[in-house]
Amino acid sequence: MNELVQVRNLTKVYEKKKLALNSVNLNIPRGKIIGLLGPNGSGKTTLIKLMSGLLVATEGEILINGSRPGPETKAQVSYLPERTYFQSGMKVRELIDFFADFYEDFRPERARELLANLNIEENATLRTLSKGTKEKVQLIMVMSRDAQLYVLDEPIAGVDPAARDYILRTIISNYNENATVLISTHLISDIENVLDEVIFIRDGRVILQDTVENIREKKGKSVDAYFREVFAC
């Protein structure tokens, strides 16, 4: 069994009959960094939450390493939500303990090293950190797990370019070789050099899955330029 994630006829309907995902089929290989790209409201976050086991599918299924989302897959999936869910009164050190309690694959020494590189004090209370620093702390926690699949929902939105570079470099140097990183974003130009493959999603449907190098070679333009063409209003 080669594919890390298999998605079959996945459909998600929210209350009031809002169709968020419409019969999606996908295979996500191991050892890749993949961009999940689409405009706001296209279904990116819904797909990510289904993979993380936070939502239940209306129809179809997701298999991660051959299993349906549940406790077993949650132990293998490291999820970075769009918004922070940490208590603002927590100290950085407490956050490390919290993750170590929750996840067997969490590596506290890796988290401490990454925090030290950024001169973030373990005694600091989250509330006192800037928005960019909070985002970095959160990413450090998520990337300090030895997961099979990292799903990062908009990890680079709303941070300055230097922080963005730091975040991308942290992702590149910390995922293990057999793991896959799925990154959702609409800021494509910042991220496309880091990606192996991209998935374009629109109105709850996958409209393209290809490698970045293929797109550049075949279309003679960047993925960003191609995205603008495909999603032109």
Binding site: S173, N193, E213, D224
Partner: protein, 121 residues
């Protein structure tokens, strides 16, 4: 040389060029170890698999060789490094000549201009 990556060409081809120029310019010296795939990928801000592809290509050409357990080293074959340098130089000249043709320059005019302007450097 910095990693100024252009967004509409395949990335691995551009990575190969940067590493070749670093070897020619001596930032990576003959027989010396070059940084690991991860380190180079993080430095360039690119996907590790893409960097891997660029390094495999350089290995195939013989400019770098992989050593058991200790990563990759630059070739000590000076002839090969010189040949790579000539090859990149020829590419530059061809590109230059193509552009001059677009501007309507004839061969003799290009040569004359090079002699005039090149002397000022």
């Amino acid at each position: 040389m910095a990693w100024n990556l252009n967004s509409d060409r395949p990335i691995y081809a551009q990575l190969i060029e940067v590493i070749q120029i670093r070897i020619i310019a001596g930032s990576y010296k003959p027989g010396e170890k070059i940084p690991s795939v991860r380190e180079l990928a993080a430095e360039a801000g690119v996907n590790p698999n893409t960097m891997q592809k660029a390094l495999s290509e350089l290995e195939r050409s013989g400019l770098v060789t992989s050593v058991r357990t200790s990563g990759r080293v630059v070739t000590e074959d000076m002839e090969m490094i010189r040949e790579t340098r000539n090859c990149l130089a020829r590419e530059q000249v061809h590109e230059f000549i193509d552009k001059m043709k677009e501007l309507g320059y004839k061969r003799e005019e290009v040569v004359r201009l090079l002699e005039q302007e090149g002397g000022n450097e």
